[in-house]
C-alpha cells in the first residue's frame, strides 16, 4: 500500500468529515432533485418535500396536510416501508462494488475501512446520532435508516475510486452520486410515500479529535456543542452528553444531586479535580511522596460518589511532572478501583505496575 493511497484516503476522510460537520444552510434544490430521482429508482413518483429546521422538529411535528398511517409514525421508523427499499437499492450496489473492485485489491479494502469508513461512522455516532439518541429513545428504533444515511458509505466508495484507479460504470457513478448528494447538501431525510421530511443542518457544531484516525466527538466547554436554528441544542463534555449546568455552572451541590455517574464525572472535570476535592471536602485516605516527582505528593481520596460497592472508586490526586507556562504544576484526579489504600499501589495500577515497581519510578516529566 503506497503512501500516496494513504494520503488520498486521509484527504477523502477530511472532505466527508467536513460534510458530516457542515453548518451551511441546505442546498434544497440539489437535495430535492437527488431524493426525487431516488424515489423514481424504487418505482415511485417524486414526493412533496417538507423541510424542518432540526431532526427534533422532524420527530415532533407532522408535515402539514399529512395524516401518517400509524405504521408510519416517527416512533415506528423501523417499520416504515420505504427506508428498506432505499437501503436495498444502494446495498446491492455496494455489494456489487465490493465484489468487483475489492477482489482485485485486497490491501485497499482494510486500509479504507480503517482510515475512512470507520472514523466517519464513529464520528457520526459521537456527534449527530449521539445527540438524537440522547434526546429520544424513539430514534433508536430507526437506527438502521440513520446508519444508512451516514456519509461513511459515500466516503468509502469515493475513497475506493480515488485510491484504486478503478473506473466505475456510468450507472454506478450515477447511483453513488445520487446517494451522496443529500449527505453533502442537507441534514437527515425521512421518506414516506408522497412526502419526504428533510432536516436542515445544525447552525453550530463543536467537536474535538478523539482518535488516531481523525475521529471526532462533541465537546464544548463554554456553551452548547450542537445547536439548530429552532433552538434545540445539546451540551457535551468530551463526547458525553450532559445537562447544560455541567458546562455552564457546575457546582458541588449539583454534583451531589446528580444521579448519573458519568454526568458527575464530567462536572467534576469541568471544575477540576483539585478544586473539587477542596470544595467538596473529600475524605483523604492516605498520601505519599510521588517517586520520580520530587516535592510532589500522591493523595488518595474517597469519592463518596459510588452507587454500589461494585462501582466503588477512589480518586488519586497527582501533580504533573512538568510545569505550566505560569510556573504552576497542574493537578489531576484519576479514578482508581476502591480496593486501594496505598497511593503507590493505586498509581502503579494506572500503568499496570505493582506498588513496589512504581516506588522505583526514577523520573516523571
Amino acid at each position: 500500500m503506497s503512501d500516496d493511497a494513504q494520503r488520498e484516503a486521509a484527504a477523502v476522510r477530511a472532505e466527508w468529515l467536513g460534510h458530516l460537520l457542515s453548518t451551511a444552510p441546505a442546498d434544497r434544490p440539489a437535495a430535492e432533485a437527488a431524493i426525487s430521482e431516488l424515489y423514481r429508482l424504487i418505482g415511485l413518483d417524486p414526493p412533496r418535500f417538507h423541510w424542518v429546521p432540526s431532526p427534533l422538529a422532524a420527530l415532533e411535528t407532522v408535515p402539514p396536510g399529512v395524516r401518517p398511517r400509524p405504521s408510519e409514525s416517527m416512533n415506528r421508523l423501523s417499520e416504515w416501508p420505504l427506508p428498506p427499499r432505499f437501503r436495498r437499492l444502494v446495498g446491492d450496489l455496494f455489494v456489487q462494488l465490493d465484489t468487483r473492485v475489492m477482489r482485485s485489491s485486497r490491501v485497499l479494502d482494510p486500509m479504507i475501512r480503517q482510515l475512512v469508513r470507520a472514523p466517519i461512522t464513529d464520528s457520526a455516532r459521537s456527534t449527530l446520532r449521539m445527540a438524537l439518541l440522547g434526546e429520544h429513545e424513539r430514534f433508536g428504533q430507526g437506527s438502521a435508516w440513520h446508519a444508512a444515511l451516514c456519509p461513511s458509505w459515500s466516503a468509502h466508495y469515493d475513497a475506493v475510486r480515488r485510491t484504486s484507479g478503478v473506473v466505475y460504470t456510468s450507472e454506478e457513478e450515477r447511483l453513488l452520486d445520487l446517494w451522496a448528494t443529500p449527505a453533502r447538501s442537507c441534514g437527515w431525510w425521512w421518506p414516506r410515500e408522497g412526502v419526504c421530511v428533510v432536516s436542515e443542518r445544525p447552525v453550530e457544531i463543536h467537536t474535538e479529535v478523539s482518535g488516531d484516525d481523525g475521529e471526532v466527538r462533541l465537546h464544548r466547554s463554554d456553551g452548547p456543542a450542537l445547536r439548530y436554528a429552532d433552538g434545540w441544542d445539546v451540551h457535551a463534555w468530551h463526547g458525553t452528553r450532559v445537562p447544560a449546568w455541567v458546562v455552564d455552572d457546575p457546582s458541588v451541590e449539583r454534583i451531589a444531586r446528580e444521579a448519573n455517574v458519568e454526568v458527575r464525572r464530567c462536572a467534576v472535570e469541568n471544575i477540576g479535580w483539585g478544586e473539587y476535592i477542596e470544595r467538596a471536602g473529600l475524605r483523604p485516605v492516605a498520601a505519599a511522596p510521588d517517586p520520580g516527582n520530587p516535592g510532589s505528593e500522591l493523595r488518595l481520596y474517597e469519592t463518596g460518589l459510588e452507587e454500589t460497592p461494585q462501582q466503588a472508586a477512589r480518586i488519586l490526586l497527582a501533580v504533573n511532572g512538568s510545569v505550566e507556562r505560569d510556573g504552576s504544576r497542574r493537578r489531576y484526579g484519576l479514578a482508581v478501583p476502591g480496593v486501594f489504600d496505598d497511593p503507590l499501589a493505586a498509581a502503579g495500577w494506572t500503568y499496570g505496575l505493582s506498588a513496589e515497581q512504581y516506588a522505583r519510578l526514577v523520573r516523571r516529566t
Binding site: S322, L334, A335, R364, T365
Partner: protein, 146 residues
C-alpha cells in the same frame, strides 16, 4: 555531545513549549520513567508481554517516530534516536492492553513531548505503556488522554 531540549527540537523539527528550560541536559536513566500519560518500563520489569508472530520492527528515523498523539490532534510523544541505534515495534500484547510497543536501543534514545519535555533512556529494551483510569460501570477502565 550534550543532548538538550533545544538539540532534540532541532534534530526532529518538533517544537517544545518555550517556557520549558531548553538548555538543561536531559538525564539518561535505565529505570522506569513516566511522561504524562505514557510510561517507559524496562523489559526486565514485565512478566507477560508477548510479541506477535509477525511483529514488524522499524528503525527509528532521525526525525523520530510518534508513539502516541494527544487528544485534539496535538502534543505527540515522539521517540527520537540517532540513525541505526534504535528499532521499534507495535506488534506486542500484554494483559490489560496498556502496551503500545517495544523499543530496543543500542545508544541513548529520547522521548520528546511539547509540554512534558524530554526523557532519556539508556541502551536496552523497553516496553511503552499508556495510563488507564478506573471507569465504574463501563469496561472497568479506560485509557487516560492528556
Amino acid at each position: 555531545m550534550t543532548v538538550t531540549l533545544a538539540s532534540l527540537s532541532e534534530q526532529t523539527g518538533l517544537a517544545v513549549l518555550d517556557h520549558l528550560d531548553r538548555s538543561v541536559s536531559i538525564p539518561v536513566v535505565d529505570g522506569i520513567q513516566a511522561q504524562g500519560d505514557l510510561i517507559v518500563v524496562p523489559m526486565a520489569e514485565t512478566q507477560s508481554l508477548s510479541f506477535w508472530p509477525k511483529a514488524e520492527w522499524t528503525d527509528v528515523p532521525p526525525e523520530g517516530v510518534e508513539l502516541l498523539r494527544g487528544v485534539a490532534g496535538g502534543n505527540p510523544h515522539t521517540l527520537v534516536a540517532d540513525p541505526g541505534t534504535c528499532r521499534w515495534t507495535r506488534g506486542v500484547s500484554e494483559p490489560g492492553g496498556l502496551a503500545i510497543g517495544v523499543f530496543e536501543a543500542s545508544a541513548p534514545v529520547y522521548l520528546l513531548h511539547p509540554e512534558h519535555g524530554a526523557s532519556g533512556c539508556a541502551p536496552g529494551r523497553y516496553v511503552v505503556r499508556r495510563q488507564r483510569e478506573y471507569a465504574p460501570g463501563g469496561w472497568g477502565s479506560r485509557l487516560v488522554a492528556d
